[in-house]
Amino acid sequence: MGNPLLVFWTRLFDGDEQRPERPVRRRRVPMASATQASATIFLVLRRMRAPLIVLIVIFAVSTLGLTLIPGQDAEGRPWHMGFFDAFYVMSYTASTIGFGEIPYPFTYNQRMWVTISIYLTVVGWAYAIGSLLALVQERSFRNALALQHFSRKVRRLREPFLLIIGYGQTGELLARSLDALGRRFVVIDQDSGRIDDLYLDSYHADVPGLVADARDPGQLGVAGLGHPSCEGVLALTNDDEANLAATQAAALLRPDLPVIVRTVAPSMHDRMSAFGAPTVVNPFDRFGDNLRLALRAPASYQLLTWLESGPGEPLPKRGEPPVHGHWVVCGYGRFGREVVHDLRAEGYDVTVVEPSAAAVEREPDAIVGLGEDPEVLAAAGIERAAGFVAGTDNDTTNLSLVAAARSANPDLFVAARQNKQASAPLFNAVEVDALLVPAEVVAHEVYAQLATPLLWRFIREMPACGNDWADSLIGKLTHLCGKRLQSIWRVQLNDVGAPALRGMGDRMPLLGELLGSPDDREERLSAVVLLAVRGAEFHLAPPDDFRLAADDELLLVGAPSARRLLDSTLLVDAIREYVLRGRHVPTSWVWRAITGRRA
């Protein structure tokens, strides 16, 4: 409810049931750093005091001296230099320009004074200019200028924007997808190198970036936390503590904003959830869930990863996981625990291999030892195993684990965890069956939540429909739209989104009728409806004989051209009449009046 009048109306007449339990107050978000920036300008002025005073004194003394020392004019009569002449001579002498002795040649008295003045004034100038240049070069001064520049850019943003905290691998992936969607965002990161990278990366929109600490609410304020156009906060740093601090700041200062926060520790999850209602994304937890889905329903998992990866991405390969059998998991850190828990919940028998005895205290059957060691792997039962997970936090170890496991049992289903972006080519080369890249998991999940709320809903509800359903939907998608994911968009069948369907009431069309092409209604648009939402109920991939109703919301995937054609059906009465009924109706008012046919 953006219109304040509407809000007022609702408050006044709609009774108490809509009133929130605690009134949401907009607090003033502190912007400490903005004053900090102007403080640095003051510091510069203060530091320039000494050089400027030295310069003024030197100038004053030497000019005064020139007017006092007696000279002589062209005829040899005694003559005193005026203030203007003296100031003029000193100015060009001090700046080492040196026009000579004017208006009359100097006497020896004057020359002696000018000699002294030259040395004094040149030193004075050098001191003043040197101090000024040193100040301009100074880091704190440059930072202050950058901060002012940044806060001005953020203040002037008039479109809704997201605040991305942490421009690591996740932040970068997400920024690219959001930019492709045409969304605006502001980035802060602690590392100045990352902010430099941000300016080097080419985005369609201008992206303000600042080196700042997420723990400082003042700096978050400068980055737009208090800005009326800010529409959400994404805390994606590698540091759970910083993410928690950002969540707290957002929840306390702007309770109305949605917050999406990344963490890898389940304990952090609870601490974050205590502030407002942030959406917490844990990549390990998500990977565990995805792995379960991949094992139970490979086609559902394939569809999920495809839709989450964003427009233009090719259809991922479908894995062929073992249906039952024994699993070996190497590495029992936070990731290992999640995976083991999920695998056991799925009914698999799991053996853990972990070098540190302390980590596996609660795991009585665990084998303590290095997973690369063939004897250790043999003891874990690798020969009879169906699946293997290389889940340590070291990429080199994970790669050698994969190699060791494959040499012991070539038919294994291998899952591995990739920690660093730099190792991506190596993991691609070993061709593991399931690869966890925490940064990508987070980026895809956040993207799915932000792209359109309906996509997120679809992704959450889709696994319940089963593998065969997902398989047939993938078949339909690839048949109509090809092997690359096309754009995903939302259509609202209300007065704004579909004025041509206004007032149809019970005569609302079937879904299959609406998706006819305006060029030839026998042909179908190359678009698939993933989800239809009607109030609280929803239908996944509704069939062609699904009867639409006013105010339905549809989530579609298809070619951009299909989107334009569908829009014209929804907007233009004459096209709607052709697509739905096959009638050719004149579009102009005059012709309609003549023929008496109305759309």
């Binding site: 510091l43 510069v44 203060r46 005073i53 203030f83």
Partner: protein, 128 residues
Amino acid sequence: MNLEKVVFGFFVLLAATLNFGFFLGDLGDPELHNAYELYAAIFVNLIATVLKFGDRTQIGAVHLATSLVADLQLISAALVWGYASYVAADGLTREATASVVSLSGGALVANIVSVVLLVVETVSFHRR
């Protein structure tokens, strides 16, 4: 005793007194208004201005503003004086002197405000 305050007060007061000394006397009589005094007033005013740089308090900001006004007035007075004595055909006339002195009179007002501010600041200062 704070040496910085001594220097600051000295320059602010000296700027006002020199300005007053130049302003004193018949408005149009060049004999009564010494160019050296105007020169000294400009010099001391510039120093006072620089001393006021970088003070972040409200009163500091007003201080700086008054000094800038005084500088502006005095430098315009010097320019008028320079134009009258070097460029104008009939030299330093009564009219030219009057305009120089009245400009410095404007600067005097700004300097007096500056002194008042200094006094206010001193009176309202409490050592805890």
